[in-house]
Structures are given as C-alpha cells and as structure tokens.
Amino acid sequence: MTNFMKINKNGGRFSIGKVLVILLLSVVGCKKFVQLPSPNTELVSTSVYSTNGSAAAAMTSIYDNMVSNNSLSTGNASISMLIGAASDELRNYSTSFPVLPQFYTNSLTSTQPYFWPEIYQRLYDANAVIAGLQSSTGVTVAIKNQLTGEAKFMRAFLLFYAVNLYGDVPLVTTTDYKINDVMGRTPKANVYQQIIADLKDAQNLLSNNYLTPAGITTTDRIRPNKGAATALLARVYLYYGNLTGDVSNYTKADSAASIVISNSSLYSLSTLNNTFLKASLGNNEAIWQLQPVTPGYNTYDGYEFVLTTTAPGGNNSTNPVAISQNLVNAFEPGDQRRQAWVDSAIIGGTTYYYPYKYKVHTYNVSNPVTEHLMVLRLAEQYLIKAEAEANGVGTGISGAVNDLNIIRNRAGLSSYAGATDKASLLTAILHERQVELFTEWGHRWFDLIRTGNINTIMGPPGNVCQAKGGTWSPQWALLPIPQSEILLNPNLKQNPGY
C-alpha cells in the first residue's frame, strides 16, 4: 500500500482541505437542491401564469366554479333563488334548506355566511389572475390583455354584487392575505369607483368579439367581451346615479347602454321562447352567459325552478319554491311573458306557478346542453337606457317611452299609454323590470332598494314581508356581515340591526 507515501508527499493537509472544501461547497451551492417544482397533481402559481393555456385555465376556473351547483349564480343557494325569495318574487315551500326560509321571511342571522365567502373566493381568484399576469412573461400580449380584461370584469361584477348585498364592503384588490385579513369596510362610493375603473379597463382590454380561452372568435358568449363590460358599466352607472344623485351618471349609463344596443350586428332581441337559449343557437339577446358544466344538466335554474309532478318544498329538495301570487298578478293581461316565462303545474289539487324562462329541467347524461345561464342580456340595456332617459338625460322622456315600448312590444303588449311625467315613467319602468327580469340575479330586490321603494313594498302598505311570515325592518335590506368574520377581523363592523 502506497497511500502513506502519497499523503506524505502532499503534506497531508491538502487532502483534508480538499475534502472540506468539497463538503462545504456541496452545501453552500445547494439552495436550489431544496427548491422543488410543483407536484404533478397541482400547479404552483408561478407556473400557472407561465403559459397561455394554464393562465386561461385559471381565468376559466372562475366561470367554472361560478356555475357549479349551490353557487351564488345558480341553483338553490343562488342570488336568483334566495334574493328572489327575500323579495316579492317567490314563495318558499321548503323547510329542509335552513337558509331559504331565513331569506323568505327576511330573518337573516349573522351566524350564516350566505354569499360572502364565495364572492371573496372568486375575488381572490380574479386578483390572482390580475397579479399573476402582471408579472408573467410567458403569456402572449393578446391573451394577457384578454385574460386581464376578463379578470377585471369579474372583479367589477363580484364587487357590484358585494356592495349591493352588503353595503360597504372590504375592497380587495390584492392577493396578500395579510392585508385582506384585517381590512375594514370601504364606503360604497369608493367601491363603485373601483368597479367603474375596472370596467373601463376591461372595455379597453377586451375584444369586440366573443373569444375562446385560446383567443379565437366563437359563437358561444360564455366569456365576457367588450360588449359585456359596456353593458355592466351601463348598469353600474345607473345604480351609481341612484346612489349619488349625480345626473352625469345617467348620461354615462345612457351612452353605455346605447353603445350596446347600437351594436346590432352582435345584439338583437330574441323571441320570448328563445331568450334563454345559448347564444350559438342564434340567441343574439345574450350579452354574457355562463355555460353549465355538470354533465347531464342544463342550467340548475331550470332544474330547480321547473316543477314536474312533485309539489315544491317538503322533502322535495329539487324544487323548493314557486312563483309568488304577487308576481303572477303583476303581469298585465296579454303579456306573453306570462305564458312564455311562467308555467304552472297542478299537483294535489293546488296550482303552482313556476319560472319557465329556462325550460330544461330533466337530468340525463345524454341531454344536449341547449340553454346557458343568462347573466347579461339586451333587454336590460333597453330598460337601463329608458330609466336614464326618464331621469332627463339623452333624448329624455320620448326616448324613455320609446325604449320601454321596445320591451313591451316584444312581450306582445301595446305601447306605453300612461302618464309621461318622470315619476310615472320610473314607476312604469320599475314594473316593466319586475316582469321582464324576474328570477334573474335578484334584479327586483336591488331595484326596490336603489329606487327607494323597498320599505313600501316589503313593509306597509305592501306588507310583503308580513305576508311571508316575517316582520319588516328597513335594516333587512342589507345582509349581515358574518359574525365569524367580525370575530376574526375587528376592523369589520356589522350592519345595523344584526
């Protein structure tokens, strides 16, 4: 063995030194060793926003999660169902869903979170898309613009519902949980300004056309486009005008709605029976729809609202509600919407009226999807324009009557013949909205609140609340902030009355 010699030759220390250097180097240079790619079953955010495909998938998940069952968009925990029950549209028969009777009798409690968690989950998702794309280098500019536009649209859309359901709400524009976890409530006007800013950005970023996740033009209208942003902006200006009393907002609402209405190559009113079909079946009234995703189902609205042979409520968890007598009575004689959009079933000797806007109720795996969940449609734009004009902007009263008549005539009704003073017209438009937009996204409830009519309808003299078994208080117009939130974040203050 000659190792001894070798070591002697090298003076020994060199070898030790070498070994030590190797040992130390191996650790010093190895911060990377413990940094991992994401697991195969999930993706880490930085890789999500590194390609067009996965970035589009992140944006798509927001729509996807919004239309799954029991979401705020559709089904028996939706705004359409619960807020419809809270207002004068629906009659509740169910005892098995604890929150439905609470909404119905306007006796909400702060122990239930209601829509709050989902709104903020989806807001986080939208903020994550905006932030992820901002720092992304792998996503092409066109897709980045499209997705950022969609995310800003969605942020505006969600904040719009948050502010209308809860009043002042935390305005989250970041994904940083440390900021969001302690955020207090932002005044409504500031939230509206953010909504308006987001929608203007969305208008600039989004295409005129309806696109696929890959940015290719398609006949489906299930991702928002520039028209959707403009249509929502029209609604937001109208609401903001109601809130602030600043007439310039009506001007902006009028012009935004006019832009959508005048885009006749894309948008036109459909026949009543076709209004809720998916856009690719030729329904040009659709401005933005959501595609049902659960196999075997069309919309959950159709599944939950349409009655067959079983009476609503009781042990029947599918159909908890029917249309209230109040709404049935609201239709003028000859209103074809009463026939096309309301149907009835006589079960056990009782007649139940039910919303029949969506006509497909059945579940069957082989069912084709023919209906998409309508979120924004052209008829509302006419009514927004009419209401703005009735407030004295644009073409004023004559324009308002004209736009109102477009909706009335489509429903087979004669042109408006009532008084044309502002107040009468606003009343007529409110009524028209009631019979046009019922069981769609809580329109009726928000209309009553923003026009200041909620207390006279729900309380005396309307006494809707009492008729439903509740006791009305003006404070019930807003939902309670979940008590658990206030415990976790002392900066959040409860709405009065809860």
Partner: protein, 1114 residues
C-alpha cells in the same frame, strides 16, 4: 500484483535535521493508525515464525516476504534500500527477531521493533524512537485463546497491554491471539462487549492458555451506544439513549418491531391499534409536541430514513397499516431510541419527536455459522365482551318499542317480526372467536475472516387471523450484510440489504363491528344451497340485514415489497481522520386490489355489476451522507470531531382507481373489463432535504465530558423565506465516581454520572408543499378546458416547529454495577407550532398553514433500575424496571379564543390530549333520559356544544412502564415482561343507543324502567328523536370514558438449551427449544375488549399469541 507490505519514505529523514520532526510526527501517526486499524476493525494476528531461503535476494524482497509472513510493516526509505547488500539466507520457522538478526547481519542498517512495525535505520544514526522497552527489557510474546462461559470460542476480543493501551490486538475467528508485550510482568487486559474484563500478567499466561470471559450484562464500560452519525461508550455519553437488543426482540412472537418494544423503553409509548396483522401503531416519544402536525419519531433503518406512514390505501383496518411492518424483526440487531437534545439535535429539523435507529444484523468473524429458527403457534382474542343473550336482546327491543309507544312493524323491527326469534348466534364467537395461526421459519449463514464478514438470512412468516376463513398475511424476507476491509484496514466497505415481500389477502374491513353489534337472532348465514342468505327481505326493499359473511366474498389482496439498501464506504486518510460516505436507498411499493363481486351484494340493491378498487403506491428515498471524522488526544483528554452533509430525496406516488360496470364477477380484477373507471386519489409529492452537521466532543480523563452537536437543515417543506434552519445542542457529563474522594468515601459506588443537555431540534412533519400557492383542476371542463383554481395561499415564511429540549439525569452503579439506576428529568417546549390559522373569508380562504407562537410543553420523569439479584454458577436472576411519568401542557396559544379550529378542543394550561366533554349527571328518574350539567350547573337533557362541554378528559397515559425478570438455571432461561399503563380511555359500545337493532353489553340491563328508577342507562328506546340525540350527547360526555389502566403480562419466553455434551454429540453449537407468549394476561377494569387499543366496535384488540419453536446453530 505484488503487495508491498512496507513503506518507503521518499524524504531523507535523517538529514537535514528539520525533517526529523516531520518524521517523528509521521512515525507517531503511523503507529496510531496501525493501532487504530488493529483495534477498531476486527483484525488478524499473523504467525510470528519466518521461513526464508534464497541467495543474493534484494533486501526489499526480503522485507516483503517477512511482511507477508508476519504482518509486520517495515518503515524504510529508498535510500536505505540502496545502501543495503543483497541477502543470503536459509531459515525455517525462525522467530521474527532471529530472522531479522540474520537479515541485518553485516548490513549498514539496524532495526527496532515497535508494535507491529519494524523500523529500519542507518547504523551510525541514532534511532529516533526511544526503544527502551524493546532494547532494555525483553519483550514477551503471549499467545492463547479466549472462550466464553459456555466454552465457545470468542472472536473479536480486545487484548491490550495495560501500561501501553496503544499496544493491542483482537482475537481472530477462532478466538486465538498473540500479543508482544514489554516484559513478563506486563498486565494484559481482555475485554469484550457484554463481558467482564479480565486482567492477567504476561507470565501468568502460559503459551496457548484458554482465557474464559464471563458475561456481564451491566458493564457500562463496554456498552457502545449507537447515535446514528457516531457512537459513544455508554459510560461516556452525555445524552439519553435507550436500546432494545436483538435478544429482547427475538423472544417475542411479533411481526412488527414496534410491538417488540412495548413496555421496554422509558419515555416511549406505543399503542398497537389492531390485532389484525399489518395493522397500525401509534408511537410517541416523550409525549405529543405538535398540536396538529405529525408526532411520529424519525425512523432510520441502517442509516436510511424510513417513512413512518404508508400512503393512502384500501385497507380500512387499523388506520391503514404501518410501514415498519415491512421490516423483519428477526433481522434486527438493535433498536436505539434517541430522546434528548444531546442525542437528537444532530438530526436537526427531524429530531423533535425522537429518533429510532434500527440496525440490522451483521456478520461476525468466525467459522461459518448456520442458524435455523422455526416456530409456530396460535393467537386468539384476549377476551370477549359479555353481550346480551337472545332473550335479553328481545326483551330490550320489545321494551324499547313499548317505551316509545310505537308498534313494531316489518320496517322498524324486522328482528322481531321477520326473523326467527328463537335463533341464537354468538356472533363474537363466530366472527372473532377463531384461532390465528402463526408459522415462522428463519435461516441464516454468517461468518468471515479478519477482513471480510458476511451474513445472509431468509425468513418466511405466515399469520392468519381470528376471523373465519383461512386468509393470511405472508411475508418472505431476505437480509444480507457484507463487511470488508482492505489488508491495511484503511479502506472499509459495508453493504447491507433488507428485502421483504408481503402478500396479504386478509379482509380490508374489520369484523369486530358485526361481532359486537349483530342481533343474536339474526338470520342464518347460508341458504341450504350454500349461497349467502339475504332473506328475509321486506316487501320491495333490500334485505333486513347485511350478512357479515359477504365480506368473505369480498377479496382483498395486497402485495407489498420493501427494499432497504445501504452501503458505507470509509477511508482512513490519516491516523484519527476518517472519511466515509453512507449511501442508502429504500423503496416501499404496494399494489392492492379489492374486488366486491355481485354475489356479495344484497340482491335488494338491484346492482348489475360488482366493483373493484385498485391502489398502487410507491415511496422511495435516496440519501447520500459524506462525512469526515477525527479523533485525537489533546492534553489529558480525547477530542472527537465530526462534520458531514446530507442529501436526501423522498418521492411518494400513489393512485387509486375504482372500477364498475363489469359484465361478470370473474373479470373483477381486470380493470380493462370495467366500463367505468373513476380515479379516487392521486398522490404525487417530492420531499428534498439537505444539511450539514457536526459534532465536537471532548472527554477529559474519562471524567469530564462535553458534547456539542449542530446541524443546518434545508428542506423543501419550508417556505422560500426560511429554507434553512440551524439546530444544535450542548451536553455535559461528570463521572463523579472516578473522583478519588468519592471512591474513598463510597467504595460501593461503582459508577456515578451526572449529565445534562440542552438543545434545539425541529419538527418538519408539516406536509409537502404546504407553503405554496397551489392550483388544482376543476372537476368539469368549461368551454372545453378544465379550470385551474387556487387551493392554498402562499406562505413564504412557513417553517419547522421548534422544540427546545432540556434534560438532566443521573446514572448510578452500585456493587460492581450489580445494581444500576438511571433517572432522567426532561422538559421539552415545542413552539412555532404549525397550525391552521383561521382567516377572514375576505382573504379568499378560511385558513392558512402558518406557524403560531403557541407552545406545548412536555415534562417527565423517566427511571430505570436493573439488578442482578442472584448470580451463581448455575442460577442467575436479573430484573429490570422502567417507569415514565409524563406530563403535557399547552403553555400558550395566542388567539385561541377566536380560532374556530382549536377553541373547542384546547385549553391553555391543560394537556393538548384533552377532550372537552359534557358532564353526565345520571339518568333523570322521572323521564329516564340522560342528564348533563349545563354551564350554569343546572341539569339539562340537551346540552349545548358551544357552552356546556366543560369537563376535561385527558386520554394520554398518566404513567407507564415495564418490569422484566430474567431467570437462568443451567440451560433453562425464563424471561417475563410485565407492562403497565395508567390511563383514561373510551369505553366500549356506549355510543350505540340501547334499544336499537344492535346487540349490547349486559350492562345496559341496568336501565331506567319506570319513574323512580335509579339506573345507569336510560330507558330503552329505538326512536331517533329524542333518544338518539340524547345518546349522541352521552357519547360526547364523561359517561363513555373510564379507567383504561392495565397491567399486562406482555411477554413470556421460556427456553431450554440442550446440554453441551448432547450438542457436541449432535455437532451443534447451539440448540434451543422455546416457548414464547405475547399478551398472555391482562388485569384491567376497562369496559371493552382491550384497554390498549380501545378499539370499541371498530378494531380487533391485540391478540394473545403463544408459539413454540426450536433454534439450531451448526
């Protein structure tokens, strides 16, 4: 290639003089290295006789020959060789010294023998090594052999010259030795692990004597403690390590090494969760440190970190199994449990919950040894519950309906109206009353010479259960170990491999539930034609019962293979300085299928197809650990230093698929024949880990001990802001029994040590990827693509839990260590707890995995006492006793009141193992329902979960321990281990309301019957409301908890070694016949099947097992 057994110095060491010091140093180092090599590695001794013949042989060739024949190294330079004349020589069997005299005759060179080296120098030069002993006194060669008390030859015994401890040899494979000592009066010591050392003068050892060593179980001096990266002599260690030996494991008929450790290790609490083979265990070392993350110790098998958990699987018995079940207990040489900071801090972020080192058997130098060990036995449930008989059951049911004022119908009382109420089946006896059969066969071959040792062994193990049917868990294991070193002992190589293949076709569902709850009048199992009986069937409905024998048709099959491969390459660079690399790989693979044929499904369900589930999982780990260790005498003490690094990667993959839509039951195990395949789970994760660790130890006079350890860890489980962490510990010890004032005043005190340690370790069992903001796929596509949505928030600060461990201990040995006694007090405070921190919905999430400054404290006292009660020629009796008194306390938890995940379960100042339950205050004498104390102290029948759970029950053990006695009389050996635990536990069955269609323990007859009845149980009722709700409250109250303390005869082992002359006649080294028993006797007040697993109606209790066997060694 010709081996050069001597070394040339290329430098001229005589002149210039400045080189002399270099030479001297080199010489010292050379000697040191040789001694070290001889002492540390099992070495050889060479014949001292030399035969040489030749004319004009160059002197280097002569040196070479002598080296080869004697093993002595020549230390010589090339220039000296050049000076020398060729040699003419003809000698036969000459002494080395005589031979050398002849060789050096007339040469310009002379020589000196120093230890095993022959130092050559020029005649005119002054030898640089003082060779007083060699030159003035006459060295003496002592030869002989060493044997144990049974007359067996003992290889590997260390023999040293007392006055010169550097002079030492080791006995060879035949127990032979030869040592040259300075003179005939020199004292020579003989020592061997586990034996009493002997000291003899050279002149008292005639050539070829036999030296007999006596075993000494309490000899601290020779016991070496494995601490993973290094080992310490038990006497000199500053930390707290408990060990379980191969003998202790071997005398227990168990298939999981964890089962063999129960009751033996202070501070380690082990619960066997089920008596079904392959079931899971819960192991905690010194209490639970983590509120919501893993509390498993770090397992290391032969240097390779070993997963403590299995991936999700299809086995629903006993919480899905235990990975250590795939380590063969009979291949284990020792299990060392590292407990305090001193021992565990070198494991850094993984050491907080203790470290369990499992070392498998290695070959030992000696003749080839062939060992066979064959045993078989039976197992059964330790006890049955006393259940209602048929009449009592019917009485209960009828009374329930009467109380409820409900008329029994075929829907709510098929057991009364449709079933044959005269039938009686003892379901316990039928379903869990069987006899489990054990068969175990092992064989091994081991042996080796001084440089290479080997061991190869194989085991077959088959175990059935107490369930009906002959389903079995079968294991086949292979173990090998090769240990080899180069001729000069500088390079060492160790390779070990453990492979186990396990096939189990036991059920994946526990039959205990049916055994305990099926009504005694349930219908017959089989129809007259042999098919399963589902009748009677209510009109248009499915069956009125679920036939438990349908499980017999549900086939479960699990094939698991486990490989643990490990190798160590080490090289002695310089004396005292070693470089080694440990390389390890382990892979645990499982493939499972469960097939549920149509024939096993109630025909009332109108199913058209059977179904099957497939699960595949794979956990693989590799680890590379290079390290450098150094040992040097500095001043009056010895300095040991160690530095090393670790690179590790664990990958876990698992997939579960569910298949239905088969046209025929025959296709169930063919997934291609299914029309619908649903993925059930998909696991894919990687864990990477690297670190640098070190140790510095100084031992002054073998009296004052200081041990410093440190580790810097980087882990992929930690967030990017905290990827690396530092850990470390300081340990100190004082062996006061070596102080002369103690020795003079307390002569009976043979050993006394005070030790203390403090350090910081971590717990990284926080799951992979938990800090990342991950996105998952949506279930259904939208616009043709699956969405990706965020599932977790990004927490760059996520890090390990920090555990600060403090320990103080005293180790005492009395009367030559016939009595040894250890007491340790420990305190560990685990902070930076990784808990679910609740978040406002506004963040988009309800919680985030985050570190909170909550602190959990574990304190405790551990004591161990070992005594040699009787020790005579034919009879010996030794006892050992261990005791642990653990305490756990939540010291702080900021924001507990607002934390929805913990506010109902934790209380600051209380153990984290508490349960907050209602206080049951007896049965209302008027209504016959349960009453509970409300927060205001008033009785209530419907307590509030938010305000009334004010009674705390601690389910952690209050104290536990073991008591072991070992008797030996001639060839007979008897070992008895008692285990005791004081604890409160969940009692049996009280969660099922008496009166429903379930059988009950006879206790329930003590029930309320009419106003004024004072009873333990409420009125029988079969109503869901209010009876069942009331019972739910009762099951969350102190009503269902009781004393689950027990004293158990855990293990008894009796063996008889055939007398020596019989064995000699049969040419057997060893022949032992034995009887072993596990869980033989349990003394407890516990209400239920078994207080250990408290399995209620869910898990089979650990079985009573008795086996007999024979062990033979050729």
């Amino acid at each position: 290639m010709q081996k050069q057994m001597y070394n040339f110095y290329l430098t001229n060491f005589v002149r210039p003089p400045r080189c002399t010091t270099q030479f001297l140093l080199t010489m010292k180092l050379t000697i040191f290295i040789l001694i070290t090599a001889i002492l540390q590695v099992s070495a050889t001794t060479y014949a001292q006789k030399v035969s040489l013949k030749g004319q004009n042989v160059p002197i280097d060739k002569v040196f070479d020959q002598i080296s080869q024949q004697t093993g002595y190294d020549f230390l010589v330079t090339r220039s000296m060789i050049n000076l020398a004349k060729p040699v003419n020589i003809d000698i036969k069997n000459a002494n080395l010294d005589d031979a050398l005299k002849q060789v050096f005759q007339g040469q310009p060179l002379d020589y000196a023998i120093k230890d095993k080296s022959i130092i050559v120098y020029q005649k005119q030069a002054i030898p640089t090594i003082p060779k007083k002993e060699a030159s003035i006194q006459q060295p003496v060669i002592v030869t002989g052999k060493v044997q144990n008390e049974l007359g067996e030859l003992m290889p590997g015994v260390t023999i040293r010259e007392k006055s010169n401890p550097n002079n030492g040899v080791i006995t060879d494979a035949k127990g032979m030795f030869s040592i040259t000592v300075s003179d005939e009066n020199a004292a020579i010591t003989f020592s061997y692990i586990g034996y009493e050392s002997q000291e003899l003068r050279a002149k008292d050892i005639p050539i070829g004597s036999s030296i007999i060593l006596k075993p000494s179980p309490n000899n601290l001096k020779e016991v070496v403690v494995n601490k993973g990266y290094y080992s310490d002599k038990k006497e000199l260690e500053t930390g707290d390590v408990s060990s379980v030996s191969a003998k202790e494991i071997g005398e227990q008929p168990v298939s999981n090494p964890l089962a063999a450790m129960e009751g033996r290790v202070p501070g380690m609490f082990i619960t066997q969760n089920t008596g079904v083979p392959g079931g899971s265990f819960t192991v905690t070392i010194r209490g639970k440190n983590s509120i919501s993350q893993g509390n498993d110790p770090l397992y290391i098998v032969d240097g390779v970190p070993y997963s403590s958990e299995l991936l999700p699987n299809l086995n629903q018995i006993g919480k899905s199994g235990n990975s250590l079940d795939f380590i063969n207990p009979s291949d284990i040489e020792s299990i060392d449990v590292l407990k305090d900071a001193d021992a565990t801090a070198i494991y850094g972020s993984r050491g907080a919950n203790g470290v369990v080192l499992i070392t498998t058997k290695k070959g030992k130098p000696g003749d080839m040894k062939v060992d066979f060990n064959i045993s078989s036995g039976v197992g059964e449930v330790t006890r049955m519950n006393d259940l209602l008989n048929g009449q009592q059951y019917l009485q209960m049911r009828n009374e329930a309906f009467k109380n409820d004022r409900v008329t029994p119908s075929v829907f709510n009382a098929p057991d009364l109206l449709l079933w044959d109420t005269t039938r009686y089946t003892n379901w316990q006896k039928l379903l869990i009353g069987g006899t489990a059969k054990y068969t175990d066969a092992q064989g091994s071959i081991s042996g080796g010479g001084a440089n290479t040792q080997y061991l190869i062994g194989g085991t077959y193990h088959r175990e059935t259960t107490v369930y009906p049917g002959d389903e079995a868990d079968q294991k086949a294991a292979v173990h090998f170990s090769i240990n080899s070193s180069s001729e000069d002992k500088k390079f060492n190589f160790l390779l070990t491999g453990n492979y186990m293949y396990d096939n189990s076709n036991l059920f994946n569902i526990d039959l205990v539930s049916d055994a305990e709850t099926l009504p005694p009048d349930a219908p017959p199992i089989y129809n007259p034609n042999g098919s399963l009986n589902w009748a009677p069937i209510t009109q248009g409905q499915s069956g009125t019962w679920i036939n438990p024998f349908s499980l017999l048709m549900t086939k479960y099959n699990a094939n698991t293979s486990n490989l643990v491969g490990h190798s160590v390459l080490s090289y002695n660079i310089l004396p005292g300085l070693d470089f080694s690399t440990s390389l390890g790989y382990t892979v645990l693979q499982t493939a499972e299928t469960v097939t549920t044929p149509l024939t096993s499904i109630d025909p009332g369900y109108n199913r058209t197809s059977g179904s099957s589930s497939f699960n595949n999982s794979n956990i693989s780990t590799w680890i590379i650990e290079p390290k450098l260790s150094y040992k040097h005498v500095i001043g009056r003490g010895v300095l040991s230093a160690l530095i090393g690094t670790t690179f590790q990667r664990i990958s876990s993959l698992g997939q579960e698929l569910n298949a239905t839509g088969f046209t025929n039951d025959a296709f169930l195990s063919d997934i291609q024949a299914a029309s619908t395949i649903t993925p059930r789970s998909d696991v894919s994760s990687i864990y990477k880990y690297e670190s640098i660790y070190g140790r510095l130890n100084y031992d002054l006079d073998d009296k004052y001990l200081l041990n410093l350890t440190a580790r810097r860890d980087g882990s992929s489980r930690f967030g990017p802001a905290n990827e690396f962490a530092n850990f470390g510990a300081i340990g100190a010890g004082w062996i006061f029994s070596k102080e002369s004032f103690i020795q003079n005043s307390l002569p009976f005190l043979s050993f006394g040590k005070i030790r203390a340690s403090y350090g910081i370790t971590g717990n990284d069992q926080i799951g992979d990827y938990s800090f990342l903001d991950l996105y998952s796929n949506t279930t259904y596509p939208y616009q043709g693509i699956l969405g990706l949505y965020p599932t977790t928030l990004f927490n760059p600060n996520l890090q390990w839990e920090i555990d600060k461990k403090l320990e103080g201990g005293i180790d005492i040995g009395l009367f030559s260590n016939r009595i040894t006694f250890n007491v340790s007090y420990y305190r560990s405070r685990s902070g930076n707890q990784l808990v679910t921190q609740p978040l406002s919905y506004v963040t988009g999430f309800t919680s985030i995995a985050a570190n909170l400054p909550a602190v959990v404290q574990n304190t405790g006292l551990e004591a161990a006492l070992s005594t040699i009660n009787v020790k005579s020629k034919d009879f010996s009796w030794t006892s050992s006793f261990n005791f642990t008194d653990p305490k756990n306390k939540l010291i702080s938890f900021p924001g507990l009141a607002a934390n929805p995940s913990y506010k109902y379960t934790l209380v600051v100042g209380q153990p984290i193992t508490i349960l907050k339950v209602y206080h049951e205050i007896g049965i209302n004498e008027t209504t016959g329902t349960f009453q509970f104390a409300s927060a205001g102290g008033n009785p209530t029948g419907s307590p509030s979960a938010l305000t009334d759970r004010n009674t705390m029950i601690n389910t952690a053990p209050q104290f536990y321990g073991g008591f072991h006695n070992s008797f030996q009389y001639k060839g007979f050996q008897l070992d008895i281990l008692f285990q005791f635990v004081k604890q409160t536990g969940l009692e049996y069955l009280y969660t099922i309301m008496p009166g429903q269609q379930y059988n009950q323990p006879v206790d329930v007859l003590n029930r309320w019957t009419a106003p004024g009845t004072v009873a333990k149980f409420p009125a029988f009722t079969q109503n869901f409301f209010p009876g069942f709700l009331s019972y739910l409250s009762a099951s969350s109250s102190d009503f269902t908890y009781g004393d689950a303390s027990y004293l158990r005869l855990k293990n008894l082992s009796f063996s008889w070694q055939l007398p020596e002359d019989w064995r000699r006649r049969l040419h057997l080294q060893n022949c032992r016949i034995y009887l072993e028993g596990q869980n033989l006797l349990t003394i407890t007040k516990y209400q239920g099947l078994d207080p250990e697993n408290q399995g209620g109606t869910f898990a089979l209790p650990p079985l009573r097992v008795i086996t007999t066997g024979i062990e033979v060694t050729f």
